[in-house]
Each structure stands twice: as structure tokens, then as C-alpha cells.
């Protein structure tokens, strides 16, 4: 072999010289530790620290030898460095030594040097420049293995510059007569194209001939390269369409050639090449009927002729199925493919089962009915011990649910949900809620399923499940409401741990307590509760430590509602509610205080205030939520909108305002209830007393007195009376996570933080402007390095104000940054918020602000200016 000629030492001068030099050095220097001994030392180290000490000592020694230009032991030292590097210690200082080894004429040195280059080199420019030169030399070496090393290294570390510099050499080598070099060069070309796609042109001519080779190494690399080129540009893809017959022929030869010992892997002829070809066919045949047509036969042959007793056979079948599904193949072929997957599903090998599920999931959109046939097998996979398989099976199951099979599927999925790992429960329960909503055969079934989901998923359900369940119950016929309330009542008898279930149950009991206690035609598994039992349960859960704050908020509202549903027991309820007037939790305390008013001076309003809520419907979100904290009014529809515009009684409207959270709609949509404002004016004093400084009542003195309780902000207002609407809203906007999130014990505050317009507890609040029914407030909070000022403008007039623009100026010693406002249009009762950040550059300056507010009222421009200087106090 010509390989040896370059290295045959013979008796030339260089070798003698080298031998003498090495001899001298061996005498001069002590022999360094052998790699073997180093490894033993490291392995003998009992602690991490000990190991580190050994490595550090050795590294120090290796560094010193590098400095000394010692060449005999360089190889050994670099080899030691690899080991040290593999263990995770820094070894980059060996880079230059590797380059020296690469430059050495000896193959041994080169081999180690290139290995080092692949392992240790970072992307430093100067080193890359040096190695590019070495590579260039070695790529032209007469020895095939030297070229091989250079190609392998280039393939591993090619940077874009290197790729550009060496592309020409690689192209030459792709035509080399030596197969060993050629296959490596082809993969180098692959790598170069990866790094610098423009260079593809150079390699195109040399690529075409690759498929005519006999050598499998070249075939496989050639197919790899062509695949990369096809994925790179559509033009090349079209260019290579004509090789489909070649590929088909190669594949055919592989299948029909029979046993060839060279390429046989457990009875299959070169599966790796087959897989690569099938992949390339997939790319070529995609969306191309002609190319697909040319492949149909061979795919059918592969699918039927492959031996599947071993993994290898399945590998090929799997790729074949994917190809059949991806290209425009014949219908019969597709059926065959899905049947193969069906067989895979029953395979004992879990890898094959995984592959089957994975592929079915990918193809389910193509041919759902074919996949549907394997439903029972897929459901079986839900019980698989392997998490990965269960997850896939779950995803696939949800993809298969439809109107016909919903009952059966839901049953299986519920069993799965019950036993599922916590990480699945959230995803699974949400998907189930969605499926149930889409395909529920009856309302009763739907409600039962929701109940079962809540029971099975426990505290892992997502927030939206609670709100959507309540919404669905609310819009159900009243007899169904009674039935589900009974079931919910019974489901919370055993444990109070399940917060989402508790919230739904408590809401329903509060809302439909009369049917629970006195309704006809209800079936109880347990005994029908008496009033005192119900009140006692509420008392228990309001005092319990297992119950989180959100659930308690639900409970307190419900209990108050119950006072109008029960025939007796108002006194008891009043007692409980009043006790919350001094609760540590601000929100509960507030509710306690407010509700006790309803038992005191405003007793006469209680019945009408706490009437049943109108049914709610939510159209699914359309994602154009305006501003940060704004609720998109279009997302919520009031079902009885008409009746309210047609002049409902004052109390009714008031009820809406207070009870159902519909106030958001009223305040933000001009289309709802023109008579709105008059109604609110009439009920103003009640609003005030309740501390509910909603939109219209904000000028009342109550605000000031309640400042410390944070009542200024609209989210609080909304959460005071009714959680359920709020949770609905949280579903819609995503910002109102106020009451839906069961995982956070006191998300009342969290909700506040999420709301830009709500001033946190320690905020200083200044009224900047109160003129023409326009009310502008600034609340200031000290952040770590700046002061955050939130501006809230409320429109108390009957008119819609447009082009609202808020401008502010501060003294030069301050820096002002204004965030974008939440909107520019103020509907009657609407709000606009804007955040400002003020940085104080000199410590003793007092913050003053000049404000300029402009807007259009009925088309007339209005300009207001004012100054605020009370911040400093």
C-alpha cells in the first residue's frame, strides 16, 4: 500500500535526527506519568477534591512540558489531556500542542493531534487559521489515512471561514478514486453546506455520479448529501427529482439481492442505506404525484417483503410507513401503512409501540378513520407502564375523540386521569373539558363528566376548568342545575382538599341552595341535608386550614347568597359573615364588612341583590385583548342584554352591577344599556356604602377612607361580590388570575400585581384632576431603583371621550419614562391606565409633575393642565 511509503523510516536523515533528539530528551527529562497510571491515580481518588488535586497536579505538569518544547512526550501528554477533558476539567491549553502534533510528519502524532483538534478546539479565529493551513496540506497528502483524518476533522469543526477556504479541496476529493477518501469527502461537503449553504453549487456536479457507485459507504453518504441539498433549496429539489428511478433501483437491489454477508444486519441488507433512501424518497415525493407514482411499487414491495422479527426490519417498515404517509401514495398503500402501525401497536417491544403512536399522531390528520380503527389498542396503551408511551397515547386519544365515541373514550380517559402522574393531570383534564364541551351528547352527561374530571384531577386542574364548569352549569336548565348541585354536595362531604371541586360545589350550593334543600324530583345517595347541616359545612370550610383563600372567598359569597335561599338560619349566617369583618386576609375582611351591611341597615335590599345570576355564556377568546389589564368586552355577552335595555327594574341593573360582574360590560361597552348611568346614579349611595367605588361612584368620600384597603381598583370591585364572573374573566383575558388559581393561597394580591391600574397597598395616591366628570389619579409606589407612578383616568360623564392623551413633565433632576397607555378611548364609566417610571438623579429634589391632558369630547377638543407636587410628602 502506498500509505506506508511516506512513513517508511528507512535510514533517511530526518529519522536519524529525530531519534537522536528524542534520545537526548529522554535522558535529560524524567519520564512523565503514563496515561494508564494517571487514570489509575484518578480512579483511586476517593473524593472529588482528591480527584481534583490529582488532575490539577497533572495539568500543571503538562503545562510545564508544553512550555519546554518537549516533543517526545507530547503525544502522551495530549492523550492524558483528553482523559482530563472528558472528566470535565478545562483542557483548552492543549490546543496549540495539538496543532504542533498535526504539523508533525508522523502519523501517530497527526492522529492524536487531529483527535485533539476535534475535542479541544474552540472557535477562536487564530487557531482556526492555523489549522486551516494544516488541513489544506493534509488533504493533499498521498496517504489515504492522513487525508481521512483531515476530512474527519474538517467535518467536525468546520467554521464558515474554513468551509469557504477548503470547499475547493473537498470538491476535488469527492472525485478521488479511493472510496475511503471519497465517502469522507462527501460528508465533509455535507457539513460545508450546513455551515455555508451558498457553497452548494460547487458540489452539485460531483454529487450526481455518487448514486452509480457500488460501495455502500459512498451510497449512504451520497444520499445524505443529496438529502441535505434538497432540503436546502426547492430548485435543487426539482433538479434531483430525476434520480427517483436510481433510488428505486438501489432499493430494489437491496431487497432482492438476497443475503450478502458484507452488509447484512440481522437478516436485512444494509438497513441504514435503506432508511436513508426511504427518507430521501419522502422528500422527493412530497406533493409530487409523478414522483410518488414512481415510488408506489417499491414501497409496497418493501412493506411486504421486510422481515419483522427483529428491530432492524421494523426500522425499515417504520420509515416506509412514514414515506407512504408523506407522499401522494395510493389509497391501498395508505391502508397497508396504517395496518403496519396497527401491528406495531401490538408489538411487545416498547420502542416499536412508541414509534407506532408517534407516527399515528403525525398521520391522524391525514386519515382519521384509518387511525380510528385502532382506537381500542391505543386506549390500551394508556395503561402502559412507560410514561413516554402513555403521554403519546393520551395525545392520540384526544385526537380521536368524536361525537360517536365520546362516551366510551371519556370513560377510559377518566380512568387514566385518575391514575395519571401529576404532570399529566393538568393537560389531560383541560383536554377532557374541551372534548366534553365539543362532543357532549347531553347536558347531564356533560355536567357529570365535568364533575368527574374535577374529582379525578384534584388540585391539578387548570384555572379555566373551574370557571368554564361554573359557566356551563349556570347556562344549564334549572332541573340539571339541581341535579348537579346535589352531586357536588355529596362529592365534598368526604374531603375538603380538592380546591377546584370545592369552589364549583360551593358556588352551586350558594346559587341553587333552594333546590338542594327543597327542590323536588332530586335523588340523593346520601340523606338530603338540612339547613343547619349546610351552614355547618360552610362554617367548617371557612375555618379549615385545608381550604385555601380563594375557596374561602367563594364560600363567603355563597354563604351570603344562601341567606336568601334558606327559610331560617339567617341569624347564624349573619354571625359567621360578621366574624369575617376582622379577618386577617384583607379580601375576606372586606367581604365580611360589606356583606354584614346587607344584614344590617340594608337588609331590605339583600333579597333582590342576591338573586340568582342570569345565565352566562362565553364566546371563546379571540385573542385581541386590548391593553394590559383591560377586559375585552366583546368576549363576554350578556345573555339577557335585550331585557336589560328594555328597562329592567333598577334593582335588576344594580344586581348586575354588583352581583354578576357584568359591570365590566356596562362600563366598557357603550352598546349596553343606555339607561345605565341613570340607574347607577340612583343607586349611588348603596355603592358607596359597600365601598364599591365602581366607575360612577368614584368621587364619593368613601374612597378616601378605604384607601388602605385598596378599594380603588376595579378588579377589587369586581371580586367583591362575585367570584364566578371573575373567574370567567380570567379565562378570557388571562390577566385576571384573581380567583381561579387554586395553587396560590392568596392570589388576591397577585392579581393586583398583575393589574397595572391597581395601586399596591403602600401606594401614595394623589388626585391630579377632577373636572368635567373626568377623574385622574396618580398612585406612586417606590420600586428598588425607581418610582412607579400609575395613572388611572376614569370617565364619569355620559359621553365617550376619544383621543385621550396624557402627557407629563418632571424637573430636570428626574428621569421620566412613560409606558404605553391602555387605550385612547374612554367610554362612559371607562378607565385608562398608564404606567410611568421616575428615576431621581439627585437625592434631595422633590418630585413635581406637570400634566397635560387632552381629549375629544363630542368632537370638541378639550385640554386640561395641572401640576402635582404632593408626592414628596
Amino acid at each position: 500500500m502506498n500509505a506506508e511509503s511516506g512513513f517508511n523510516p528507512g535510514l533517511n536523515m530526518a529519522t536519524i535526527r529525530q531519534a537522536i533528539n528524542e534520545t537526548i530528551e529522554r535522558v535529560r527529562m524524567p519520564t512523565p506519568t503514563r496515561l494508564r497510571d494517571l487514570i489509575r491515580q484518578i480512579r483511586a481518588a476517593k473524593t472529588q477534591a482528591e480527584e481534583r488535586a490529582v488532575v490539577n497536579r497533572e495539568c500543571a505538569y503538562i503545562r510545564s512540558t508544553f512550555r519546554e518544547e518537549d516533543s517526545v512526550w507530547r503525544c502522551r501528554n495530549i492523550a492524558k489531556l483528553f482523559y482530563i477533558h472528558m472528566l470535565g476539567y478545562p483542557a483548552h491549553f492543549g490546543q496549540l500542542e495539538c496543532l504542533k502534533l498535526i504539523a508533525s510528519p508522523k502519523f501517530t502524532d497527526k492522529r492524536i493531534g487531529y483527535l485533539g483538534a476535534m475535542l479541544l478546539l474552540d472557535e477562536r479565529q487564530d487557531v482556526h487559521l492555523l489549522i486551516t493551513n494544516c488541513l489544506k496540506n493534509d488533504l493533499n497528502s498521498p496517504t489515504q489515512f492522513v487525508v481521512g483524518l483531515a476530512l474527519c476533522t474538517l467535518g467536525a469543526i468546520a467554521s464558515p471561514e474554513m468551509a469557504r477556504d477548503l470547499a475547493g479541496e473537498i470538491e476535488k476529493l469527492m472525485k478521488s478514486p479511493n472510496a475511503y477518501i471519497r465517502k469522507k469527502a462527501v460528508l465533509c461537503a455535507f457539513r460545508i453546506i450546513r455551515r455555508v449553504p451558498e457553497l452548494m453549487e460547487i458540489f452539485l456536479p460531483a454529487t450526481r455520479s455518487l448514486l452509480n457507485e457500488k460501495n455502500h459507504g459512498i451510497l449512504i453518504t451520497g444520499v445524505t448529501l443529496i438529502t441535505e441539498m434538497c432540503e436546502n433549496s426547492p430548485d435543487t429539489l426539482n433538479h434531483f427529482k430525476k434520480i427517483v428511478p436510481n433510488l428505486v433501483r438501489i432499493l430494489k437491489n437491496l431487497i432482492l439481492a438476497g443475503y450478502s454477508p458484507e452488509h447484512d444486519v440481522s437478516g436485512v441488507s444494509d438497513p441504514f442505506l435503506q432508511v436513508k433512501i426511504l427518507r430521501l424518497l419522502r422528500i422527493l415525493g412530497r406533493n409530487d404525484p409523478d414522483a410518488s407514482e414512481a415510488m408506489n411499487d417499491i414501497l409496497a414491495q418493501v412493506a411486504t417483503n421486510t422481515e419483522t422479527s427483529k428491530n432492524v426490519g421494523n426500522t425499515i417498515l417504520y420509515e416506509t410507513v412514514l414515506t407512504i404517509m408523506d407522499i401522494k401514495s395510493e389509497g391501498g398503500l395508505r391502508v397497508l401503512a396504517v395496518n403496519i402501525l396497527g401491528r406495531f401497536l401490538l408489538n411487545n417491544d416498547k420502542n416499536i409501540r412508541y414509534i407506532a403512536l408517534h407516527t399515528l399522531l403525525r398521520t391522524v390528520h391525514v386519515d382519521i378513520s384509518a387511525v380510528q380503527r385502532h382506537r381500542s389498542t391505543i386506549l390500551e396503551c394508556l395503561k402502559d407502564p412507560d410514561v413516554t408511551i402513555r403521554k403519546r397515547a393520551m395525545e392520540l386519544s384526544f385526537a380521536l375523540v368524536n361525537t360517536q365515541n365520546i362516551r366510551a373514550m371519556a370513560k377510559e380517559l377518566l380512568i387514566f386521569l385518575e391514575k395519571a402522574d401529576p404532570e399529566f393531570k393538568a393537560q389531560c383534564s383541560s383536554s377532557m373539558v374541551n372534548s366534553a364541551e365539543r362532543y357532549a351528547p347531553t347536558i347531564r352527561w356533560h355536567l357529570d363528566t365535568l364533575l368527574n374530571i374535577l374529582i379525578a384531577a384534584g388540585n391539578y386542574v387548570r384555572d379555566d376548568v373551574v370557571s368554564s364548569t361554573i359557566q356551563i352549569i349556570s347556562s344549564s336548565p334549572s332541573n340539571e342545575q339541581g341535579v348537579i348541585t346535589v352531586k357536588l354536595w355529596e362529592s365534598i362531604q368526604e374531603t375538603l382538599d380538592n380546591q377546584p371541586l370545592l369552589q364549583v360545589a360551593v358556588w352551586c350550593i350558594g346559587e341553587f341552595g333552594d333546590s338542594l334543600l327543597y327542590g323536588d324530583d332530586l335523588e340523593f345517595t346520601l340523606e338530603r341535608p338540612t339547613e343547619s347541616i349546610v351552614i355547618e359545612l360552610f362554617n367548617k370550610l371557612l375555618c379549615s386550614n385545608q381550604v385555601n383563600m380563594v375557596s374561602k372567598q367563594y364560600a363567603l359569597v355563597s354563604l351570603t347568597k344562601l341567606s336568601t335561599r334558606l327559610k331560617a338560619g339567617q341569624g347564624e349566617i349573619k354571625g359567621i359573615v360578621e366574624a369575617f369583618g376582622s379577618h386577617l386576609n384583607v379580601d375576606l375582611q372586606q367581604r365580611g364588612v360589606e356583606f354584614s351591611q346587607l344584614f344590617g341597615s340594608y337588609n331590605h335590599l339583600r333579597t333582590s341583590l342576591l338573586e340568582k345570576m342570569p345565565a352566562m355564556t362565553i364566546t371563546r377568546m379571540n385573542g385581541n385583548t386590548e391593553g394590559s389589564g383591560e377586559v375585552e368586552p366583546s368576549n363576554i355577552k350578556v345573555t339577557d342584554e335585550k331585557s336589560s335595555t328594555n328597562g329592567r327594574s333598577n334593582t335588576d341593573t344594580l344586581l348586575d352591577l354588583l352581583g354578576s360582574g357584568d359591570d365590566i360590560i356596562m362600563s366598557t361597552t357603550s352598546s349596553v344599556i343606555p339607561s345605565n348611568t341613570t340607574n347607577t346614579v340612583e343607586s349611588n349611595n348603596l355603592l358607596d356604602l359597600l365601598g364599591d367605588i365602581d366607575l360612577s361612584a368614584s368621587t364619593a368620600p368613601v374612597i378616601v377612607s378605604n384607601n388602605n384597603n385598596n378599594l380603588l381598583s376595579s378588579p377589587v370591585t369586581m371580586s367583591i361580590f362575585d367570584d364566578n364572573e371573575n373567574t370567567n374573566i380570567s379565562d378570557v383575558s388571562g390577566v385576571f388570575s384573581l380567583n381561579g388559581d387554586s395553587n396560590i393561597p392568596d392570589n388576591f394580591d397577585l392579581g393586583l400585581d398583575a393589574m397595572p391600574q391597581s395601586p399596591p397597598t403602600n401606594a401614595k395616591i394623589v388626585t391630579a384632576l377632577d373636572k368635567n366628570d373626568l377623574f385622574v389619579q396618580l398612585s406612586m409606589v417606590n420600586q428598588s431603583d425607581y418610582q412607579q407612578i400609575n395613572m388611572i383616568t376614569t370617565n364619569n360623564s355620559k359621553d365617550t371621550l376619544e383621543q385621550y392623551l396624557f402627557q407629563a413633565a418632571v424637573p430636570k433632576s428626574f428621569q421620566l419614562q412613560m409606558m404605553s397607555p391602555s387605550g385612547s378611548v374612554l367610554l362612559p364609566g371607562g378607565k385608562i391606565t398608564q404606567e410611568m417610571r421616575v428615576k431621581n438623579n439627585s437625592s434631595n429634589a422633590v418630585l413635581r409633575m406637570k400634566l397635560r391632558i387632552s381629549y375629544l369630547c363630542n368632537g370638541n377638543p378639550v385640554l386640561e393642565q395641572c401640576e402635582v407636587s404632593e408626592f414628596g410628602k
Binding site: G88, M118, C152
Partner: protein, 193 residues
């Protein structure tokens, strides 16, 4: 594309790490450790694939899959993207391990520890630039063997020559010379050709 070939033992000690795109040393170690943590907690009855978010390989654009096999004390892990066939890579791991087995005759963890360079040479004959280059075991072994021969020939020649020279030097009774005449190392430093 194969992004990395990793071998580690049951305790997470790396025995081979080979990356086909550039990572800093720190990143490499993070990847190895995370891979170990993910795979070691999987039971043997589970499937040999693990899907990961693309963030796993710090800068990879596509999704990443771990495909692994567990042999006695060692895990062989291939970290690939979508363009590789999962089952195909399993076969490739088999080929890799069988090749090791044949070149070390009954390979064990110690062989990997003490011959890490050899393992690299073998990997380089199977996978190059993150793509399979050769799967024929005979071919792989033959090429590695040929290269080993060249190395052996070189070291044989040089070391034979130099050891002869060493013995010749020893014969002139160096220590004595050193004591009497001059400081040897310094002299020899200048003596280089």
C-alpha cells in the same frame, strides 16, 4: 443529524463524549450531566427514546431526541434531531457496541476507560460530521487496524533507534561524566540538531 455521542456509566461518569457541533467545555458538561439525569431515572422497561425541548442543546434550531441503550454498566446515548430515524439509531448503537466488542474482544467499561483514544478512532470511522459514514463492521475494523499498524510501525522504528542510542549513551557512563565535567542537561540542550 447526530449532535453528540455520549457514553457514561451507571454513576454518570463520562466514558466517551463526542460532539458534532461546537459547545464550550462548560456546556458539554451540562449536557452530559443533564442527559445522565434524564436517562438514569428511566426504568429498563421504558422505551429507549426521550424527546427534549430544543433548548436542551443550547443553540440547536430543531428538536432534540435522546436515543439510548443500556448495556450492563454503560449507557450509550446518541443525541439526534428529527432527521434521524429513531429505530435506525438504535441499530447504529448496536453496530457501535458490537464493533467495540470485536476490537476489544468482550469489551467492558475498563477498556473504554484505558483506551479512550481508540474508542474515538472507532467512532470517527462510523460517524463523521454528525452523519453515518460506514456501518459495515468489517470495514470499520479493518480501517482502524490499518491505522494502528502504521502507528505501531512508526513507534517501533523510532523507539528501537532511540533506545539503542540510549543504551549507547548509558555505556559512556553519563553520571560520572556529569559529576566530573559539566552539567549534562544544559549541554544537551545545545546539542540538538
Amino acid at each position: 443529524m447526530i449532535h453528540a455521542v455520549l457514553v457514561f456509566n451507571n454513576y454518570g461518569k463520562p466514558r466517551l463524549s463526542k460532539f458534532y457541533q461546537h459547545f464550550s467545555e462548560q456546556q458539554q458538561q451540562t449536557i452530559i450531566q443533564e442527559t445522565f439525569q434524564l436517562i438514569s431515572k428511566r426504568e429498563d422497561c421504558t422505551c429507549n427514546f426521550l424527546e427534549l425541548p430544543s433548548s436542551f442543546l443550547m443553540n440547536a434550531s430543531s428538536d432534540c431526541k435522546l436515543i439510548y441503550r443500556h448495556y450492563a454498566t454503560l449507557y450509550f446515548v446518541f443525541c439526534c434531531d428529527e432527521s434521524e430515524s429513531e429505530l435506525g439509531i438504535l441499530d447504529l448503537i448496536q453496530v457501535f457496541v458490537e464493533t467495540l466488542d470485536r476490537s476489544f474482544s468482550n469489551v467492558c467499561e475498563l477498556d473504554l476507560i484505558f483506551n479512550s483514544d481508540v474508542i474515538h478512532f472507532i467512532v470517527n470511522e462510523i460517524v463523521q460530521s454528525g452523519m453515518v459514514v460506514q456501518t459495515n463492521m468489517n470495514e470499520i475494523l479493518a480501517r482502524v487496524e490499518e491505522q494502528n499498524k502504521i502507528c505501531k510501525a512508526e513507534s517501533g522504528n523510532v523507539s528501537a533507534a532511540s533506545s539503542k542510542a540510549v543504551s549507547a549513551m548509558k555505556n559512556i557512563n553519563l553520571p560520572q561524566l556529569k559529576d566530573k565535567v559539566f552539567d549534562l542537561p544544559n549541554t544537551f540542550k545545545d546539542l540538538k540538531f
